[in-house]
């Protein structure tokens, strides 16, 4: 293939992929249009750029509170999942006894259970914990994070398990001879070696936790606790839809995702492929 031909086709496929993303274009241009403009032509560029629909949407969605809530829940979930799942997976690989086999089987097998099968009994269990143990599992971020950890545990342990199997035991034995205890061996020797798979787990968890709607909708009822997904849902539910404002609101919800994607793009695509293929 000669250079000129390659260049033309290269340009052509970029244009096709931009066309594929046209819904995002439609969302952005209409977030700036007046009602009249919007109903005249959905596809045209806006006549003027005013951010008034954005300020209205920010207010109605309580956007920055929701953003903070989402960031908090997602970050805490990811940190707990990485710490707890890597610790567990290491033990399961290194002490390959009956218990390890049973635990690993349970974690992997339950990955097939859809959330809808668990949601109602889960809410009952959380209600009992609240009533009898007086732990605030419902309508708190802590409760949501707790449940997120449980749901993300299966895939995380599975990925760590596969990765740790390829790390030679000799490294650990040397550290034990040097007087390291089990805790030290794990955190000083093993955990640093898990960096690449930890990035994969983190990325899968960030996406799953950030975009989750159903679980937070069941757990959180207080307005001030809403995540981005919840505030978007109530934004569309409470008012008759004013489309230019709605588009401004949706654009706002996508900004954090675009920032995350542009920073970690390489890792995200690699992580997604690794997470799926394993």
């Amino acid at each position: 293939m000669n250079n000129a031909k390659n260049g033309i086709i290269s340009l052509l496929i970029v244009m096709i992929s931009l066309l594929f993303l046209s819904p995002i274009y439609i969302m952005i241009v209409n977030s700036f249009k007046t009602r009249a403009e919007l109903y005249e032509n959905v596809l045209s560029l806006p006549g003027s750029f005013s951010f008034e629909y954005y300020t209205a949407a920010i207010k109605k969605m309580n956007f920055f509170v929701a953003l903070g809530n989402s960031l908090y829940v997602t970050t805490a979930t990811v940190i707990f999942v990485i710490v707890l799942a890597s610790m567990m997976a290491w033990m399961l690989v290194r002490r390959d006894n009956v218990w390890s086999k049973i635990i690993f089987f349970l974690f992997v097998a339950t990955m097939l259970i859809p959330f809808q099968t668990l949601m109602m009994p889960l809410m009952q269990v959380m209600d009992w914990i609240r009533t009898y143990l007086h732990l605030p599992m419902l309508n708190t971020h802590g409760g949501l994070i707790f449940m997120n950890i449980g749901f993300h545990a299966g895939i995380a342990v599975f990925l760590y398990h596969g990765f740790i199997k390829s790390i030679p035991v000799a490294l650990e034995e040397a550290a034990v001879l040097d007087g390291c205890n089990t805790f030290g061996v794990f955190w000083r020797i093993i955990f640093p070696l898990l960096k690449s798979i930890s990035v994969t787990v983190a990325i899968l968890d960030v996406i799953a936790s950030w975009n989750d709607y159903l679980l937070p909708s069941l757990v959180l009822s207080e307005k001030g606790l809403r995540t981005i997904q919840l505030s978007t849902f109530y934004f569309f539910g409470e008012f008759t839809i004013v489309w230019n404002q709605a588009m401004a609101g949706l654009t706002l919800t996508i900004v954090p995702i675009i920032i995350f994607y542009s920073i970690a793009q390489k890792y995200i695509i690699k992580g997604i492929a690794a997470g799926a293929v394993k």
Binding site: S10, N30, M87, G150, N211, I268
Partner: protein
């Protein structure tokens, strides 16, 4: 050595406990709930009814309709997501200068949550399509798709495809890049044309990727809820109420906790059976180099 046991306990117990409380216990209690009649109010009694809930759901017309719609949706989605994902992957791996940029752009919709995607497309299918129809005069195709039962289901397929095509693309790319250059070169030298190279070499060697992608789209399509909620909310009337939404509405909408949970258990059994069958079938067709 007791010390060893204590370390084992410390490392595995926290996550195992959380997992039991969040996944295992609810799953087991859920099976019990599917055999009782209960309205969800804790002071009201749970009456054991045996298999009544399971026989009742087989006579629930709306449930059967939603199951049938889910099957239709899943079949369409399976086809369109994988076809588009594969085409994208073949384009990206053809060695053009802009391949990386194209891959980045095509994958992007997958990062946006289903709820938000559904709302963006709701605008496009309602006002966007109506306008295009008025301007071009092609209003037999371009009208508000969400008010027609059949087109609304297709609209769900379109949005799901838009979301998932980039995801399967990434997996197919990994598969294609795993095929050795030498094999392809050798086939070229032997005079195999592009069609033969595709059907005789690329596709058979891609079987592991097909296994994964079909599994992911199959389970993803079957479990779809967010897009369903934000795009059509089951409408018009109940024509696009898919499986997961029917389960949710039965439990939390109508307060039939027992019947709803029986549906939820059946939902799990079907997903498990279908996906395991699919993996076994496609695995059998994987070839070794």
């Amino acid at each position: 050595m007791p010390n060893k046991k204590i370390w084992y306990f410390i490392f595995t117990m926290p996550l195992f406990l959380i997992f039991c409380i969040v996944v295992l216990v609810p799953f087991l209690i859920g099976i019990y709930y599917s055999f009782v009649n209960w309205d969800g109010i804790s002071s009201n009694p749970k009456v054991f009814v045996g298999f009544d809930n399971y026989t009742a759901l087989l006579q629930d017309k709306r449930f059967l309709a939603s199951a049938w719609n889910t099957i239709k949706f899943t079949l369409f989605a399976l086809f369109s997501v994988n076809l588009l994902g594969l085409v994208f992957a073949l384009i990206v791996t053809s060695g053009f200068k802009t391949s990386n940029l194209v891959r980045t752009l095509l994958f992007m919709p997958n990062l946006i949550g289903g709820l938000i995607l559904g709302y963006i497309w709701r605008f496009i299918f309602t006002d966007g399509f109506k306008q295009i129809g008025e301007i071009t005069g092609g209003d037999s195709i371009f009208f508000n798709w969400l008010i027609d039962p059949n087109f609304a289901l297709i609209a769900l397929v379109v949005v799901f495809t838009w979301q998932m095509a980039g995801y399967t693309m990434v997996i197919y790319i990994a598969g294609i890049q795993g095929i050795s250059e030498e094999v392809m070169e050798a086939a070229k030298v032997d005079g195999a044309n592009i069609w033969h190279r595709m059907t005789k070499i690329v596709f058979p060697l891609l079987m592991p990727s097909f296994t994964i992608c079909l599994f992911l789209t199959l389970s993803g399509a079957f479990k779809i809820y967010d897009v369903n909620l934000s795009l059509t909310n089951g409408g018009p009337i109940h024509h696009t109420e898919l499986f997961a939404m029917n389960v949710f509405n039965e439990i939390f909408g109508y307060g039939n906790y027992g019947l709803g949970q029986a549906k939820a258990i059946l939902f799990f059994v079907i997903i498990a059976l279908v996906t395991i069958t699919q993996v076994v079938i496609t695995k059998r067709r994987e070839v070794q180099m």
